[in-house]
């Protein structure tokens, strides 16, 4: 699920075939050199320092010269072939058609923000740490970073691309097989670089999913849920998080409008369950030491109310 050699789209597939080609050439070279060294070692051996053989200074070593020049010629040819193969693959990687979908992905310490762009402003929506895309269609990612350098990498679909503050990079990729592909930040970005994962989901029901994500959060139904929402909106949560359809609209931390539709919490750190969610809210550093979310000690009643409300954000 996070493998270089498990391509699920054309970009990763091009690179995978280049890999096998390069590996084959390199393996042949490696074996040839080892054989040559092995034969050289086995030819003539002495146990103690014998007088040096100075005859080589006067005679022409035709055989060795021819062998070295030939080996050099073969090496040069091999290097040219490898370079050309690399260029051909480069070209192939640039040939994916115009994108069907454009997503702005922004790296943060230590989570991913994804804003699904659309001509129709009403249709724009934002998710975090879990990106669904349609199957078999090129998708353009506009990559940015908010704080330090991150690197976007979903190996089953494509090579990586750095997200550098102050710059914008783009990456086009396509998933041909439906599935869940894991990605992970590939540029060291501080304390929790290790736990900055994302799920990239090639979704056959993408349109359905997108339609659901575009909806605002449902109104709370029970008193407990209402209390939970009030706690969220009037408490500390709303200082960083957003829930569409409520006054909470901060952008410092993941958008939680459809929190419960996601498979993981805290950028892939733990599975998304009520238990983990409670643990995360109370003490994020027990799951991700150094995480930017502060601990939120609260009374059990409050916590239950908050969890009940968050549980409705499907």
């Amino acid at each position: 699920m996070q493998e270089v050699l498990g391509s699920a789209g054309p970009q990763a597939a091009h690179i995978e075939s280049l890999w096998w080609f390069t590996l084959a050439i390199c393996a042949v070279v490696f074996i040839a050199i080892l054989v040559a060294v092995g034969l050289a070692v086995m030819r003539r051996r002495v146990r103690a320092p014998t007088p040096p053989d100075l005859s080589v200074l006067t005679k022409k070593e035709r055989g060795a010269e021819v062998a070295v020049v030939a080996a050099l010629g073969v090496s040069l040819a091999g290097l040219i072939v490898l370079t050309l193969a690399s260029f051909v693959t480069d070209r192939a990687l640039a040939s994916l058609g115009p994108p069907d979908l454009e997503i702005d992905v922004t790296g943060h310490q230590w989570w991913w923000d994804a804003r699904y762009d659309d001509q129709d402003k009403q249709k724009i929506f934002t998710v975090a740490n879990e990106i669904h895309i349609p199957v078999g269609k090129p998708v353009l990612l506009r990559l940015r970073a908010d704080d330090v350098i991150h690197s976007f990498w979903v190996p089953n679909l494509s090579g990586k691309k750095d997200m550098i503050p102050g710059r914008e990079a783009t990456l086009t990729l396509q998933a041909d097989k439906p599935g869940v592909y894991r990605g992970q930040c590939a540029e060291f970005c501080g304390a929790q670089h290790a736990k900055m994962a994302l799920l990239f989901i090639a979704d056959e029901k993408y349109e359905e999913w997108a339609a659901a994500q575009r909806k605002t959060a449902p109104e709370p139904a029970t008193d407990q849920q209402k209390r939970g929402r009030d706690l969220f909106v009037n408490g500390r949560c709303a200082m960083c998080h957003a829930i569409q359809g409520t006054p909470a609209s901060a952008r410092r931390a993941p958008d939680l409008t459809h929190l419960m539709s996601r498979q993981t919490l805290a950028a892939g750190a733990v599975p998304n369950s009520i238990g983990h969610l409670a643990g995360w809210i109370l003490d994020p550093t027990s799951i991700k030491p150094g995480a930017n979310m502060p601990p939120n000690p609260m009374a059990p009643d409050d916590l239950h109310a908050l969890l009940a409300y968050l549980g409705t954000l499907k």
């Binding site: 990763a12 490696f30 050099l72 350098i149 190996p155 550098i164 102050g166 970005c189």
Partner: protein, 629 residues
């Protein structure tokens, strides 16, 4: 033993004498011992990381400490071990190989060593006090900038760079001047030992590459200390600028670690093949080509940034091309072994390991030279495997071979063949068990610099295997230390030339006297001890007529080593040490306040003035021998 020369050239006794020492062999040995101590220290940090990664979700070491560990490990290995240990080898061996009595600028050489030592102690002390650097050995901004690494950790890193750069640049100047001006008559450039050629190329690379990182680290300190915005994109600075400056140094750095490895190969293989090396001119040209080409590769560390694709293609081609000079040398060595009579002593085993490890690392280097492949492999464990195969296979294995090879020269005693073989095989097996699995980990998606991973990623077993390999390496290193310590006391006496080698360092006693050669030889061939055959050497065979009661040496011309003029070398003095202390205090202080540069500069200026203040007695002596040697 010539008592007059000994009296003239030896370092003074006692503690003050130790602080005043300027003999290049003393300084060289200090470099070697210090660098090995730092190597051991950074190795222990690596072992701790391996323990943390041995199983998924391990809680032995948290992210804060882990990030300090890998940063310090990388920084120490690159800046405080790999480069200085090679410079130490050069400082010890180059004067002996070119038939000189001393290095050029011996006091500056001592100063460079002290600055290096203080820089190294500084970073380890900071790590012990829990403010070791934690932004990676490459310290990418903005992460290493004032906003995302508050506190002093990144300043420690940047200032340690200042220490090692200063020391490295000075040592490079020492080596270049020694090679160009102090060669014994007859040692034309065409007869220069390949070891010296390689060290010369390395020194020039250091001279041209290090200023780049010095600019970068100074700008980083300024950003952090006085709020400039060189690297702050919000204020018009550029985060990518750091990467260009860092890698413009960083890639040549890999090669000035690797080229000395090639130097050891080209010195040791002919000795144990019992013939002069095959293809001397080709190897010299390859070394030079490598030195030049290594400045044209830096962008291959930045393929994942948004640099235009056509530009990246240039760097792919350049990165592929640099394999050629190394290939030429490998073929020449194989030809040397093929046509010679091989003797498989311990140093030679290490040379043979190079062909396995370095070649494998070089081939994975061709893979990451390709932009598309690099986009997948970059910053994964595949690169961790690649770089360790290249640096350990290309530099550390040859270095251990070199250690076994020159240990008899440096100490006068042989190391144990039996322990040496055990150590070699444990190191070789342990190395491959540790690092080979990392190729697979990278392909299976494991990024670098992660302090932990979850069980479901399936990286557990290979990581455990790697950790087991690290234990084997640790055992081999313990054996190595035992071997060194016991050989120092009880090793067989070596004699002048135990391996029957051909270069000049074997023409003198083991260990060499303070003045290196009783009589400085005149050179008429590439392997002066081998050719022309003994007894057929035409006159004159040695330099005569230099003053023995002052440190007088012969300076020769750059190209043909024709005697040019006489020069009196300076005597030992503690001022380089005192100046180095003052410089260190200035550097340390500037972490906390910019005023340290102002006030700290005063004692530095004072001590350096005292260092260069001429003594009436020495001037009189110089004038006297000017008239009559």
């Amino acid at each position: 033993m010539n008592p007059v020369l000994e009296n003239t050239w030896r370092d003074p006794p006692g503690l003050l004498g130790a602080l005043s020492a300027i003999d290049h062999k003393t300084i060289g040995k200090r470099y070697l011992v210090t660098a090995f101590a730092f190597f051991a220290g950074a190795g222990i940090l690596a072992a701790l990381m391996r323990l943390q990664l041995a199983r998924p979700e391990n809680t032995l070491i948290g992210p804060d400490l882990y990030n300090q560990l890998f940063t310090t490990h990388g920084t120490v290995m690159m800046f405080l071990f790999a480069v200085p240990v090679m410079q130490g080898m050069a400082i010890y061996l180059v004067p002996l190989m070119v038939g000189a009595r001393s290095v050029a600028f011996p006091r500056m050489n001592a100063f460079a060593y002290w600055v290096y030592l203080f820089g190294g102690l500084f970073i380890f002390t900071c790590l012990a006090l829990d403010f070791g650097p934690d932004a990676g050995w490459f310290s990418y901004v903005p992460l290493a900038g004032p906003q995302y690494t508050p506190g002093k950790r990144a300043d420690v890193w940047a200032q340690m760079i200042t220490f090692t750069e200063l020391s490295g640049l000075l040592a490079a100047v020492v080596v270049i001047a020694t090679v160009f001006k102090l060669r014994t008559p007859g040692m034309t450039l065409a007869r220069l030992p390949l070891f010296v050629w390689a060290m010369l190329a390395t020194a020039f690379m250091i001279l041209f590459a290090m200023p780049s990182v010095m600019v970068a680290s100074t700008a980083l300190i300024l950003d952090r200390l006085v709020s400039t915005h060189f690297f702050n994109p919000a204020e018009g600075g550029d985060a990518l600028l750091w990467q260009h400056l860092f890698w413009f140094f960083g890639h040549p750095e890999v090669y000035f670690i690797f080229i000395p490895g090639l130097a050891f190969m080209s010195s040791i293989i002919p000795t144990f093949s019992r013939r002069p090396i095959f293809g001397y001119p080709a190897i010299v040209m390859s070394l030079t080509a490598t030195a030049f080409l290594s400045f044209g590769l830096w962008v291959h560390h930045m393929f994942a940034t948004h640099i235009p694709e056509l530009g990246k293609s240039f760097f792919t081609a350049a990165s592929m091309l640099i394999a050629l000079p190394t290939a030429i040398q490998i073929f020449c060595w194989i030809a040397t072994m093929w046509t010679g009579r091989l003797r498989l002593a311990v140093p030679m085993l290490y040379m043979l390991a190079f062909f396995f490890i370095l070649v494998l690392g070089g081939l994975t280097g061709l893979m990451v030279a390709s932009v598309p492949l690099d986009l997948q492999l970059h910053d994964t464990y595949f690169v961790v495997a690649h770089l360790h195969y290249v640096l350990i296979g290309g530099a550390v294995f040859p270095l251990f071979g070199a250690w076994h090879y020159w240990f008899p020269k440096i100490t006068g005693r042989m190391m144990s063949e039996r322990l040496g073989k055990w150590q070699f095989w444990l190191f070789f097996v342990g190395f491959n068990v540790t690092f080979y699995p990392m190729h697979h980990l990278g392909l299976r998606g494991m990024p670098r610099r992660v302090y932990t991973y979850t069980d479901e990623m399936g990286w557990g077993p290979l990581n455990l295997l790697a950790t087991a390999g690290a234990v084997v390496i640790a055992v081999s290193m313990v054996l190595f230390v035992i071997d060194v310590v016991t050989s120092l006391r009880r090793g067989a006496l070596a004699g002048d030339n135990p391996w029957g080698a051909g270069t000049l360092e074997w023409a003198t006693a083991s260990p060499p006297p303070s003045y290196n050669f009783d009589r400085q030889p005149i050179v008429r061939a590439r392997d002066p001890l081998w050719e022309p055959p003994f007894g057929l050497v035409p006159e004159p065979t040695h330099i005569v007529g230099l003053a023995e009661r002052t440190r007088e040496a012969l300076v020769t011309t750059v190209q043909d080593a024709i005697p040019d003029h006489r020069l009196v070398f300076p005597n030992p003095t503690p001022w380089p040490f005192v100046s180095a202390v003052a410089v260190s205090i200035m550097f340390l202080g500037s972490i906390f306040t910019p005023w340290a540069i102002v006030w700290g500069g005063i004692p530095v200026a004072l001590f350096v003035t005292l260092w260069f203040w001429p003594k009436r007695e020495e001037t009189d002596q110089a004038i006297a021998i000017e008239k009559r040697p």
